[in-house]
């Protein structure tokens, strides 16, 4: 029951997988194992996946929590338009990136984890989810700050300002008006 947002989970997984892919690639290149070219590719792919997955999407319902400093990544990812908005494309990209990692031991874990993230993104895409950037809310400063904050215009027990205009017309209302202006003692 309930709408599960698969994309959020897929995003967490993909970010973690990207890091694992990157680490495995670094180990593979540093150790100069056989097939280290695959490891070098894994390093590049890992960095790319991390950059792509770092900005969190806006949730369809509920509050979205940003990752620290994700605004610039969000803007960059948003600029690719439908390529990054659509989760089918993302699932395909992740699946394609993970395949070369399967040829080397150091990167095989990253490959499998990315593969799982790709599957979850596919599920999210089938359910019709898409990526929305979290943009900062426009500053809505309320002009009318409420009677609590605006200081009173008249000292008590004077009538409100519009009563002054009616002084001449409404003699009945004049009962509320002070005959003498109250000033401070000089």
């Amino acid at each position: 029951m309930g709408k599960i947002e698969w994309a959020m989970w897929a995003n967490e997984q993909a970010l973690a997988s990207g890091l694992i892919y990157l680490t495995g690639g670094i180990v593979g290149v540093a150790g100069q194992f056989r097939g280290w070219q695959f490891a070098a590719f894994a390093v590049a792919a890992g960095v790319f996946v991390c950059l792509l997955e770092y900005p969190r999407s806006k949730r369809a319902k509920g509050t979205s929590v940003e990752r620290t400093g994700q605004y610039c990544f969000s803007v960059v990812v948003k600029s690719f338009g439908p390529l990054t908005r659509n989760y089918y494309v993302r699932a395909f990209i992740l699946a394609a990136l993970c395949v070369p990692g399967g040829f080397m031991l150091a990167t095989v874990l990253g490959c499998v984890c990315l593969g799982i993230s790709s599957i979850i993104y596919l599920v999210a895409a089938i359910r019709g989810e898409h990526w929305e950037p979290i943009l900062p809310r426009k500053e809505t400063k309320t002009k009318d700050t409420g009677s609590m904050i605006r200081p009173p215009q008249n000292p008590p027990p004077r009538p409100p300002p519009d009563m002054h205009r009616k002084r001449v017309e409404d003699l009945g209302g004049a009962a509320y008006d002070n005959a003498i202006d109250v000033t401070a003692d000089e």
């Binding site: 309930g2 989970w9 929590v65 031991l105």
Partner: protein
């Protein structure tokens, strides 16, 4: 800026940090002990020469993993912890305060498992390389590689070896569990977290057979073949038949070839106890929640709150505890926790919860309980002859708010619907306040809207009047705050006069409140209980740790929702 006082900090944080130090110390000790065993132990002499540091690190991290995998289950045995919390003879107040942090301990063990898994896997990868680089011609039984320099992608080796296959599966499951337990996934889609976390049973089963058919072998015949004696044997075979007559050679002569044997799996020794305990706990909770409850009344309150009164046989609860509701009519697998607002007593056997309609489960549940047409806010109870849905209750489970009665002075701070644990406390006071250790209760309730106070207006006035009648006017000190001043209404009912005279507009000034409480309760320990948003609880936590000139100590207890 508030200055942190050593005494307040120790009173509040000392216990937690002590347990943390103990746990870290146990991990470090275990790591070093296993490391030294493999680097200096005689039975691993040849293996160590072949593999080097990778052997020691992988085995040391494995033993730390064993420890943490067994400890991680214990804080999740909620019924057991509730029982320990309830028996005041077994545990002191300090121990019970430590139980509040059981989820934090679980997370700490989980993080340690992830970190050491990474260390363990890396060390084993290095071992694989070393097995082929240092292929041993002297001891062919010890080898894993088929020939020297076999540094290939190694699939045929790793994945045909049982520990390799199980290791990859374990890491995969751990990865799934770890990524779905981040804060935002738990908050947004709790089901994903719950279902992936229940893969733990697969994890443990695989973990227990992980070492079968292992690649690391130890030497079994140490007396007959002291390590390092091979050279002496080789040199002495040339003189075979001659009398040697040298004592050193006698000691270092090998009588036979070195025999090697792989380890038996040891993880089950560590893990089976907590695993059985946890499975027993889950079974007990399942059986206990299997008989459905009878819904007695459903009352609609203002600001989207529904009160539910229920009856269940043999249900006993203490004030401050919470239950978990499961309604198959709404969703078969979702379980939602709610704090009890009334506990069953000898006089009245019903118990109740207040639930705020926030997500889709609560919305659907409310639709099943009440007719949809009446959407206006009413306080009148609507008792109707209708078929209520089947409801199952699991619990009750303990929470920090049970300790309110065990301090001389308590300060309860509630934010919005967070007042529910304290409502139960107030009901208990209404039934009989003389039996508790509590001598003074400060109650601060902050709400966004004035209407919210109607949830418990009757209860607050009843407690106030009772204590005034019984000549204890200083027992119950109430302060109500409305944080959003727009569209201010007032409580015009005469019977709620004690509330309106204690109602303040705006956010509370916590420092002044603490100073006032400290001045009137010198040299006492004040229990601070907070159930509300993060902002309030972190401010209160900071204030509890700060310096106090009047000798009052504030002990902070926080109720958490997730």
């Amino acid at each position: 800026m508030v200055v942190v006082s050593v005494r307040s900090w120790v009173a509040n944080e000392g216990g937690k940090h002590f347990v943390l130090m103990l746990w870290l110390g146990a991990n470090i000790w275990l790591f070093m002990k296993t490391f030294l065993l493999y680097s200096t132990g005689k039975q691993y002499h040849y293996l160590y020469k072949m593999l080097g540091l990778g052997l020691c690190i992988s085995r040391a991290s494995a033993s730390v993993l064993n420890l943490n995998c067994s400890l991680v289950l214990l804080p999740m045995c909620r019924s057991l912890l509730t029982f320990v919390r309830g028996t005041h003879t077994v545990s002191s107040r300090k121990t019970r305060r430590l139980l509040d942090k059981s989820k934090t301990f679980h997370v700490a063990c989980g993080v340690a498992i992830c970190i050491f898994s990474v260390v363990h896997v890396s060390a084993h990868l290095v071992n694989v390389v070393n097995f082929s680089m240092s292929y041993s011609d002297d001891f062919p039984a010890l080898n894993l590689a088929r020939y020297r320099g076999e540094v290939r992608p190694m699939y045929s080796h790793i994945y045909m070896l049982f520990p390799g296959v199980t290791g990859v599966l374990l890491v995969l499951i751990l990865f799934l569990m770890f990524t779905s337990s981040s804060y935002c996934v738990r908050v947004s889609n709790y089901e994903i977290f719950w279902y992936t976390h229940n893969l733990f049973i697969v994890f443990y089963i695989i973990l227990m057979v992980h070492m079968v058919g292992g690649a690391l072998k130890y030497q079994t015949n140490l007396e007959a073949h002291p390590p390092g004696c091979l050279r002496a044997n080789q040199s002495s075979t040339e003189q075979h038949g001659e009398e040697l007559g040298q004592n050193e050679d006698e000691e270092r002569r090998c009588r036979e070839e070195a025999h090697f044997q792989p380890h038996c799996p040891q993880t089950w020794l560590w893990v089976s106890g907590p695993l059985c305990l946890y499975c027993a706990e889950r079974l007990y909770r399942y059986i206990r929640s299997s008989n459905p409850v009878t819904i007695v009344t459903v009352i609609r309150h203002p600001c989207d709150v529904i009160e539910l009164r229920m009856l269940k046989k043999n249900f006993k609860a203490r004030p401050g505890q919470y239950i978990v509701l499961n309604c198959p009519g709404v969703s078969s697998f979702e379980n939602h926790p709610f704090t009890l607002t009334t506990c069953p007593t000898e006089i009245k056997a019903t118990f109740g919860v207040h639930l705020r309609v926030v997500g889709d489960w609560t919305e659907r549940f409310t639709q099943l309980l009440l007719p949809e047409s009446r959407l206006d806010m009413e306080i009148l109870p609507m008792v109707q002859q209708r078929r209520y849905p089947n409801l199952y209750v699991d619990g009750p489970f303990g929470s920090p708010s049970e300790e309110v009665f065990n301090y001389d002075v308590s300060l309860c701070v509630a934010g919005g619907i967070g007042v529910t644990p304290f409502a139960c406390v107030l009901h208990a006071l209404l039934d009989g306040w003389t039996g508790f250790r509590l001598q003074r209760l400060y109650f601060v309730w902050v709400c966004r809207e004035l209407q919210s106070f109607y949830w418990f207006a009757e209860l607050l006035c009843a407690v106030h009047h009772k204590l005034w009648q019984e000549n204890r006017p200083d027992y119950f000190n109430l302060k109500l705050y409305v944080s959003q001043p727009d569209s201010l209404q007032c409580m015009s009912e005469e019977r709620y006069r004690p509330l309106t005279s204690r109602l303040l507009v705006g956010r509370p000034k916590w420092k002044l409140l603490f100073d006032e409480i400290a001045k009137t309760n010198k040299h006492k320990k004040v229990g601070v209980f907070c159930c509300g948003p993060k902002g309030i609880s972190s401010t209160l936590h900071r204030l509890c740790n700060s310096a106090r000139s009047s000798g009052t100590t504030f002990e902070f207890n926080k109720e958490s929702f997730s």
